[in-house]
C-alpha cells in the first residue's frame, strides 16, 4: 500500500497536476501556480517517504497494474533513486514558487503553460529515476525531453531556435538509445533491467551485445551532454527563461547520468560484454576532456547564464569520470555530485534569474555591486559558488572528495591530478564572478533592492540545502547511497 502510494505520489501526482492546470487554469497564472505547488507538495511527501523506506539498502518495487515483471512494467526505488527523486521534487517546488514573479517579468504570455510543462517534466524525470524497464525509460525520456523543449521555447526568439537544435540532437540521442534497446531485446527477449542482467550472465559475448552497449551509451551520453556531445546545452540554457534554466540545469542531465550509470553497472557489468572496459575508458577520457573544455570555455564567457552553462558541461564531466571508474567509491561520488551540482547550479541560475529580474540584463558587468543591491541573494550565490569549486563544508567538497578517492582506488593518478587541478580552474572562473560582484564599482551607486520574498525564499532554501547536504553527507552517502544493492555489488567504500 505504502509502496504504491510512493510511486503514485512521485509520478502520477505531477501528471494529474499538469492535466488539471490545462483544464482549469490555462488562463489564470495564479491558480496554475497553486495547483502546481499542491501536486509538487504531494510529490515531496512521497519522496520523503521513499527516502525513509530506502534507508540502509531498502528497495521499493511495484508492478504497474498488477502485472509482475517480466510481463508487466516494474517501478523500482532504491537509495540512489530516492535521493534523486527528492532533489527533483524539491528543486521543482522551489522553481515553481520562484517562477511566479520571475516569469511575469520575462514572458509576455504562456505562463500557466509553464507550470503544466514543468509538472510534466517532473513526472517524466521521476518516472526515469524509478523505472526498471528499459522501454518505459525511453518513453519517460521522450516525455521529459518534449516538455523541456517546450519549456525552453517559451522564452521566444533565439530560445525557439536553441530549442529546435536541442530537439534534433536530443531525439537522435533517444533514437540511439531505442536502437540499443532493440539489440538487447533481440538478444534477451526481455525489457526488464534486472531480467536482462540475469540473462546476459549466460549470454556469450557477441557483436550485437557490443553494439547495444555502444548505442545505449552514446544515446544517454547525448542526453547527458558529455563532451563532445554537449552542443545543444549552452544555447538552450542561455536563452531559456531563468526558471526553466534552473529546473533543467538542476536536474535533467543528472537523471540521464543516473540512467547511464544503471545501464552500465546494473545491466551490462554482470554480463560478458567485451566492449564494456573500452566504453568506460572512453567515457573517462571524454569526461576529463569535458572538465577542461567546460572550465576553459566558462572562463571566456561574458554572459552569466552562458558561463553557468559551460560550467555545467565541466561538472557533467566529473560525473562521467566518476561513472567511468566503476568502483563503489567513485560511483557514490558521482551520485553525490549529481545532488551537489544539481542544488548548486539551480541556486546559481535562480540568482542569475534574479539579476535579470532586477536589471533586465545578464552580462557580467551588471553584477557590479550586487552585494549592495541584493545582499541575501549574493550570499546564496557565494555559497553555491563555493560548492561548485569544492570548498568544505559545502556539498561540492564531499562529492569531489569521494571522486578523488575513487580515482586513487582505481589506480588512476592521472584523473586524480586532473580533478585536483580542475578545481583551480573552476576557482578561477568563480573568483572572476566574485571580482565582478565585489570589486567592480557600479556606474551609479546601488541602493538596497533585495528580491521579492517569493523569489528569495527558494534561493535561500537551496543555499541552505547545499550546506545541509554537505554537513549531512554521512547520512546521504552512508545510509542512502552506499547501501543500495547496486553499489553493494561493487564492493566497499574506501573513503568512510
Amino acid at each position: 500500500m505504502t509502496t504504491s502510494l510512493v510511486f503514485a505520489g512521485l509520478v502520477l501526482s505531477p501528471i494529474f497536476g499538469a492535466l488539471l492546470i490545462v483544464v482549469l487554469a490555462l488562463n489564470n497564472a495564479r491558480r496554475a501556480q497553486i495547483l502546481a505547488l499542491l501536486s509538487l507538495a504531494i510529490s515531496l511527501g512521497a519522496a520523503a517517504a521513499g527516502i525513509e523506506a530506502c534507508r540502509d539498502g531498502g528497495v521499493l518495487s511495484y508492478s504497474y497494474a498488477g502485472w509482475t515483471a517480466p510481463i508487466g512494467i516494474e517501478a523500482r526505488l532504491d537509495g540512489i533513486a530516492a535521493a534523486l527523486a527528492m532533489l527533483i521534487a524539491a528543486l521543482a517546488t522551489g522553481v515553481c514558487l520562484y517562477a511566479g514573479r520571475s516569469l511575469r517579468a520575462e514572458l509576455p504570455r504562456d505562463i500557466p503553460a509553464f507550470y503544466a510543462m514543468s509538472l510534466l517534466l517532473v513526472a517524466a524525470l521521476q518516472g526515469m529515476t524509478t523505472t526498471a524497464d528499459l522501454f518505459n525509460l525511453y518513453v519517460f525520456l521522450e516525455i521529459s525531453s518534449l516538455s523541456a523543449y517546450a519549456l525552453i521555447a517559451i522564452g521566444g526568439g533565439a530560445a525557439s531556435l536553441a530549442s529546435f537544435r536541442y530537439l534534433l540532437i536530443g531525439t537522435v540521442g533517444a533514437s540511439f538509445y531505442l536502437l540499443g534497446v532493440a539489440f538487447l531485446f533481440a538478444l534477451t527477449g526481455s525489457l526488464n533491467a534486472h531480467e536482462i542482467a540475469t540473462i546476459l550472465q549466460r549470454t556469450p559475448p557477441s557483436a550485437a551485445l557490443n553494439a547495444g552497449l555502444a548505442l545505449l551509451t552514446v544515446g544517454l551520453g547525448l542526453k547527458m551532454a558529455v563532451f563532445p556531445m554537449h552542443g545543444w546545452l549552452p544555447d538552450a540554457y542561455t536563452y531559456a527563461p531563468s526558471a526553466t534554466s534552473a529546473l533543467i540545469g538542476g536536474v535533467m542531465t543528472k537523471v540521464s547520468a543516473l540512467a547511464l550509470l544503471r545501464v552500465l553497472y546494473a545491466v551490462f557489468a554482470p554480463g560478458q560484454a567485451e566492449l564494456l572496459p573500452a566504453v568506460t575508458t572512453v567515457l573517462g577520457i571524454l569526461g576529463a576532456a569535458g572538465i577542461v573544455f567546460g572550465s576553459v570555455m566558462a572562463l571566456a564567457q561574458r554572459d552569466l547564464k552562458r558561463l553557468l552553462a559551460y560550467s555545467s558541461i565541466a561538472h557533467l564531466g566529473y560525473i562521467a569520470v566518476g561513472i567511468s571508474l566503476g568502483n563503489a567509491t567513485a560511483l557514490a561520488g558521482a551520485v553525490f555530485h549529481m545532488l551537489a551540482h544539481g542544488l548548486a547550479k539551480a541556486t546559481l541560475f535562480l540568482v542569475a534569474g534574479g539579476v535579470v529580474y532586477r536589471f533586465g540584463r545578464r552580462n557580467l558587468d551588471s553584477l557590479a555591486g550586487l552585494h549592495r543591491t541584493m545582499p541575501l541573494s549574493t550570499a546564496a550565490f557565494v555559497v553555491a559558488s563555493l560548492s561548485m569549486i569544492g570548498i568544505p563544508p559545502t556539498a561540492g567538497f564531499f562529492s569531489k572528495w569521494y571522486l578523488m578517492i575513487g580515482c586513487l582506488e582505481a589506480g588512476r593518478t592521472d584523473l586524480f591530478v586532473l580533478v585536483v587541478a580542475s578545481t583551480l580552474l573552476s576557482a578561477w572562473y568563480f573568483l572572476r564572478l566574485f571580482e565582478a560582484i565585489f570589486f567592480v564599482e557600479p556606474p551609479k551607486p546601488r541602493t538596497r533592492d533585495e528580491l521579492p520574498t517569493a523569489m528569495l525564499l527558494p534561493v535561500g532554501a537551496a543555499a541552505a540545502a547545499i550546506l545541509a547536504l554537505g554537513l549531512g553527507n554521512q547520512f546521504a552517502i552512508g545510509e542512502l547511497i552506499e547501501p543500495t544493492p547496486l553499489l553493494q555489488a561493487l564492493g566497499q567504500l574506501v573513503a568512510r
Partner: protein, 121 residues
C-alpha cells in the same frame, strides 16, 4: 565477398542501416531546418522497421489463440505494441518540432540555418 555473404539473407538489417545513414546524412548535410527534421523522421522510422522486422516468423500469423488449432506459428506481438508507443512519441516530437519551426519562421522569416545564424548573432 565475405561481407556480401554475411549480408545475404539479412535484408532487413541492410535496409534499416541504410535508412538510418540516409536520415543522419540529411540531418548533417542539409541547411534547411525542415529537411533536417525530415532526416530525423527517416531515422526514427528505420528503428521502428527494425523492431517490427524482429517480430516476423516465417509462416507466422496473427497472435490470437483459437480453440482447436495446434502447431500454429505466431508473430511476436510485443514489438508491435512497443512501436505503437514509439510512433506516438515520434508524432508528438514532429508536432513540437513543427510548432517550433512556425515560431522560428515568424520571428526570423527564414528556415535556412546559415541565414538564421547571421540573424541571431
Amino acid at each position: 565477398m565475405d561481407i556480401a555473404a554475411a549480408l545475404a539473407g539479412r535484408f532487413e538489417y541492410v535496409m534499416t542501416s541504410a535508412l538510418i545513414v540516409v536520415g543522419l546524412h540529411g540531418m548533417l548535410s542539409k541547411q534547411n531546418l525542415v529537411k533536417q527534421l525530415i532526416g530525423l523522421n527517416i531515422m526514427q522510422t528505420a528503428i521502428i522497421l527494425l523492431f517490427i522486422s524482429m517480430s516476423v516468423q516465417t509462416g507466422g500469423t496473427v497472435p490470437i489463440i483459437e480453440k482447436g488449432t495446434a502447431n500454429v506459428v505466431y508473430m511476436s506481438p510485443l514489438p508491435h505494441v512497443l512501436m505503437l508507443t514509439a510512433i506516438v512519441v515520434m508524432v508528438a516530437t514532429a508536432g513540437v518540432a513543427f510548432a517550433l519551426l512556425i515560431r522560428i519562421h515568424a520571428r526570423y522569416g527564414s528556415l535556412e540555418e546559415g541565414e538564421l545564424l547571421g540573424r541571431t548573432r
